[in-house]
Symmetry: C2
Subunit: 143 residues, 2 copies
DNA sequence: GCTTGACCTTCCCATGATGGGAAGCTCCAT
DNA sequence: ATGGAGCTTCCCATCATGGGAAGGTCAAGC
């Protein structure tokens, strides 16, 4: 399966679905694939290498637009590692921002749930919070 | 502004954009608003209360479909607090799942960035990881 | 040679929550 | 009466991904 595999084989080799490979091509993240006479896309090891790069970057949460830049840097022998590091640390900051936001939600929810009996009765501090969130309460001061 | 405010006023009172209020109505999260003869939507304090409930639930990260259920429970005098608590704790679990995934990304990225000089030279462990993620490395064993 | 099934193609639609913006109508103050 | 703010509906975009239809291709087995 070295030279000239179909999209299905490239998908298996790279852990990127055929659907996504086509999509990446359509948005110009990948160059247009070669085609057989019948119109089937053909991929070689170099293409699979690129796909794995994208797959790994996605698994680290990089958005496709950032991956576009990372790919360009990867291919550019005159890149500076500072650019790559900068992109990565910006991404880390973004992840940490989202993590912090979700942790705040978790903290509040756990607090509310802790005070909720969770039995057959209707009284529920969680609903009370949702219903009166505009008013002051100890719970809300958590955020 | 007690009875019969327009969507713009309801939006300000609830911190839910007019756009979203219309959207919530369109997906049946809110009942169809009353209308003036000219077709303008009209809202009262009760509607604003519901909107604030939704806004608060959204700020805690609940998806709209869960909020639909929470609203029904809120209105149901015969609810059990156990149902509410259950929904909340499921949501907490989901949040924690996402947090853990992002934390793993952050850990890996920080490790890679730590080993990257971040200077004018092209050598970059971050790109190396992305390019060879299919092979074994110390870094990858973090995940 | 022909059928069958797996694989490929393109195209459209859906997700989830939100916003932008156009075209056109309404309301109120000047 | 005019202007501007605010309302209406409708369409499109985001972001990454998948589902599925309709139709073409290829290889294996009969």
């Amino acid at each position: 399966m070295n030279q000239g595999m179909t999209i299905g084989q490239a998908a298996k080799s790279s852990a990127v679905s055929a659907k996504m490979i086509r999509h990446y091509e359509s948005i110009g993240l990948l160059p247009k694939a070669q085609r057989t006479e019948a119109g089937y896309r053909l991929y070689d090891d170099s293409d699979v290498h690129t796909l794995r790069f994208i797959q790994r970057a996605r698994s680290l949460g990089f958005p496709l637009e950032t991956i576009r830049t990372l790919l360009a840097l990867w291919r550019n022998r005159r890149r500076s590692s500072a650019q790559v590091k900068e992109l990565s640390l910006r991404h880390v900051a973004e992840l940490e921002r989202k993590i912090a936001a979700m942790q705040a939600m978790v903290r509040t929810l756990k607090h509310l749930a802790h005070n909720c009996h969770g039995d057959d009765r209707p009284e529920c501090p969680i609903l009370d919070d949702l219903a009166f969130s505009n008013q002051k309460s100890e719970v809300r001061s958590q955020n």
